[in-house]
């Protein structure tokens, strides 16, 4: 066991930090809490930001050299980039491009890589992920959207939901059922799809936060070329799970967000009052503050612990899910605390001129539930930990 005093990593962190300060995108809605789809007005700035981050090698560094990366797997540097982006509260590159890129790099054909990967790096193509359906959220494999072979094309019919950035995206990363007569995991195929294809209808959903980050996407006889299949027909489950592993481990490194929120809450507690005294002098509030600070630190340390396990080959299937659960549950507790500190003002939202911090904590609180559900509901992740990491028997399935 040793502490990391790697001067090289320290220099890299400083470099990333000053890069972010120099290039951080400015926009109307970028200060909002939670992982949000941007206002349309902010999108040009976000495309530019995406291009800059890739160009600097902070994202996509682990891609093969011919697609602009260095080919080097460097999870330590990737973690530093994730932490610094979180610390600075700037958005990560827009859309599901990284997720789609992972599947294309692992499973895509040469011409697919050629067509899509460069445009992800330059921010020209925003991707959305077309996985979840009204009847298939946590049980993703039960999806019903159909892709029927017809000559050189597949014809898509069905509906997706919870599609982040669906209303901004040029491309979609789609899972659809190509074979209904085999076990449910075995009949799914992954596709790259142009979002301006005829027959696609994107309808923004208004969410609990009052904003529209997600969409419903309807497919009515949408024809897409068979060359858009990623990997092999009926083998899409493998493609999807490979990229989802990537998503969950990314969520785990976001402990820095928590630490920043707890620090902000402490600052707020120094300004707001409980009776005659600053809230931060109240013993009950101090106890919760201390507990949440510890929890936020533990989240960061768990991320580093899991990274160390991954680098030494001792990680298991439970690591990424448990980091995600701990993060999203701590986040909920921190948001509730920040809101609760405000007393009667906790009722006021961003539409009210007297809302504290323009309603950031109210947004954060309402958004917090998205994180305990998205990327695998915590209950489903607990099943994964129990079954794959602890070896408990599977839930009996009716199939």
């Amino acid at each position: 066991m040793k502490l990391d005093h790697d001067a090289e990593i320290g220099r890299f962190r400083a470099e990333v930090r000053s890069f972010i300060e120099a290039h951080r995108p400015v926009g109307q809605a970028l200060h909002k809490a939670g992982v949000r789809a941007p206002d349309p007005d902010d999108i040009p700035a976000l495309r530019k930001w995406t291009a800059q981050v890739f160009d600097a090698g902070y994202f996509g560094g682990d891609w093969p050299v011919e697609w602009g990366g260095t080919g080097a797997q460097d999870p330590l540097r990737a973690t530093v980039v994730g932490e610094e982006i979180a610390r600075a509260r700037v958005p990560a590159p827009l859309g599901a491009g990284l997720l789609a890129a992972m599947s294309l790099i692992h499973f895509g054909r040469q011409e697919q890589k050629q067509r899509y990967l460069p445009r992800i790096r330059t921010g020209e193509d925003i991707w959305c992920q077309l996985f979840s359906e009204p009847g298939a959220g946590s049980d993703l494999a039960s999806l019903q959207t159909r892709a029927r072979r017809d000559g050189d094309c597949f014809v898509i019919n069905g509906q997706k939901v919870w599609t982040t950035n669906g209303h901004h995206a040029e491309r979609g990363y789609l899972l659809a059922r190509t074979n209904p007569d085999v076990p449910k995991h075995a009949g799914i195929t992954a596709f790259a799809i142009d979002m301006d294809s005829s027959g696609i209808d994107v309808r923004p959903l208004r969410e609990i936060t009052g904003t529209s980050d997600f969409n419903e996407v309807f497919f009515d006889d949408v024809r897409i070329p068979a060359e858009n299949v990623i990997g092999a027909v009926d083998r899409g489950w493998e493609v999807a799970t490979t990229s989802l592993v990537h998503e969950r481990s990314g969520v785990g490194t976001a402990g820095v967000v928590l630490l920043r929120a707890v620090t902000d809450a402490a600052r707020m507690a120094g300004i707001l009052h409980r009776g005659e005294r600053p809230a931060i002098e109240n013993d009950a509030i101090r106890q919760v503050l201390g507990r949440l600070y510890a929890a936020a630190r533990v989240n960061i340390l768990l991320g580093q612990y899991n990274l160390s396990r991954a680098l030494t080959g001792s990680a298991d299937a439970g690591d990424a899910p448990l980091a995600k659960i701990l993060y999203s549950e701590t986040n909920l507790a921190v948001c509730e605390f920040g809101l609760g500190l405000q007393g009667t003002d906790s009722l006021l939202t961003e539409d009210d001129p007297k809302a504290i911090g323009n309603g950031w904590w109210q947004d954060a609180f309402l958004y917090a539930r998205a994180l305990t559900i998205a990327g695998g509901a915590n209950e489903v992740l607990r099943n994964i930990i129990a079954e794959r990491a602890l070896g408990l028997p599977k839930e009996p399935r009716v199939s």
């Binding site: 040793k2 990391d4 201390g290 507990r291 510890a294 990491a389």
Partner: protein, 376 residues
């Protein structure tokens, strides 16, 4: 950051686990618990001495192994796996205190015997009903014919009944000071306490006009403040590591049980209600490991955030592992509630470890104070 074990550490852990499973399995620990006066098995302590437990953090020039706090933490974790009795933690803390004091004469005089474990030492710090910090110290030392006279009551002193040397933290002119007291000194009495943790011996030490020579002063007012803070940090780390062993073993027991125990025609481990508890236990254990090992490294390297790292680790781990053993009891159902089942021994140890070297209330307050001053 690298949390993996070196080859030497792997070997140390393996040999310790072998020794404890062979010579001091849980059945033997139960026997010791039932024999009120025994406390721990001197033969196991001796064999542990051969493996180098007490010698680990002591430099080679004093007969030690030149290891660090992380090494000791790995050993205390193994002790937790079988809820071992014995003075390891407090003994090591006294050795560390002597090592870091300005008393060069004491290092060469005392450390070789502490390194072999031949002399058992313990630290008398906490006082009845007080929080486990400097503010809870009321034992008083006054100068007395060239030496000092000590008066006060200490609680939860590990294995004082077997110790030859007791490090007493007291107030001298209202400031912290530390004295090395011979356990046989007139006026010093030891009473075995009945505690929630039946597998570990904790004692009350009463000092009534105990007279010690001037040379017994290990840390004078001033230097004693940071010495005590350091000892508390090390103690909090070691007891947290012990809790990791408790949690690891209890999770194993619980998962094993959930796989074989059937109800309604299937293993209870196939029910989500049980699975989710086990997954939460696993999550708490892994997060506690990260926090505790980081704290051990931070204290070893004396990083700027060492105090904070310890507060985080102790508050989080002690609460989380106590919750873990509590949930394990729920999964075990009625059988877990019996005296015959080993689970309560672990549950008790976890609950005791929550208090020893500072409870979550204390550390949450300390973290809040740090946070208030950093944003204020």
């Amino acid at each position: 950051m690298d949390f993996s074990l070196s080859d030497e550490q792997e070997l140390l852990v393996r040999s310790t686990r072998q020794l404890l499973t062979r010579d001091s399995p849980i059945s033997r620990v139960r026997e010791l618990a039932d024999k009120a006066e025994q406390g721990f098995d001197p033969r196991v302590w001796e064999k542990g001495g051969d493996l180098g437990w007490p010698a680990l953090p002591i430099p080679t020039e004093y007969g030690g192994l030149d290891g660090d706090l992380v090494d000791v933490a790995l050993i205390t974790k193994e002790h937790g796996r079988t809820v071992q009795p014995g003075p390891l933690v407090s003994h090591v803390l006294v050795a560390l205190a002597i090592l870091r004091s300005t008393r060069d004469d004491l290092r060469s005089r005392l450390l070789p015997d502490l390194a072999t474990g031949e002399t058992v030492a313990t630290w008398a710090f906490a006082e009845p009903g007080q929080a486990w910090d400097a503010g809870g110290v009321h034992t008083e030392a006054v100068e007395h014919s060239g030496g000092f006279r000590l008066n006060g009551v200490k609680t939860a002193v590990q294995d004082a009944g077997h110790a030859r040397l007791i490090l007493v933290t007291a107030l001298l002119d209202g400031e912290l000071a530390q004295f090395l007291v011979d356990a046989g000194a007139p006026g010093l009495t030891v009473r075995r306490q009945r505690t929630i943790d039946v597998t570990r011996r904790l004692d009350e030490v009463v000092l009534v006009d105990v007279v010690v020579p001037a040379s017994a002063l290990l840390n004078a007012p001033g230097p004693a403040d940071s010495a005590v803070a350091y000892q508390l940090r090390c103690g909090a780390v070691l007891i947290s590591a012990e809790s990791l062993g408790v949690g690891e073993r209890v999770l194993d027991m619980t998962v094993d049980y959930a796989k074989v125990r059937t109800q309604f025609g299937r293993p209870i481990g196939s029910f989500q209600a049980v699975k989710h508890k086990c997954a939460t236990m696993r999550m708490g254990l892994q997060a506690s490991s990260a926090a505790t090992y980081y704290a051990a490294m931070a204290v070893t390297s004396d990083t700027r955030d060492a105090e904070e790292a310890v507060a985080v680790a102790k508050a989080y781990t002690s609460q989380t592992i106590a919750d873990l053993t509590s949930e394990a009891l729920q999964v075990h159902g009625g059988i877990g509630f019996t005296w015959e089942h080993d689970l309560h021994l672990y549950h008790r140890r976890a609950k005791a470890n929550q208090v020893l070297f500072g409870d979550p209330f204390l550390y949450h307050e300390r973290l809040a104070a740090m946070l208030a001053s950093s944003v204020g």
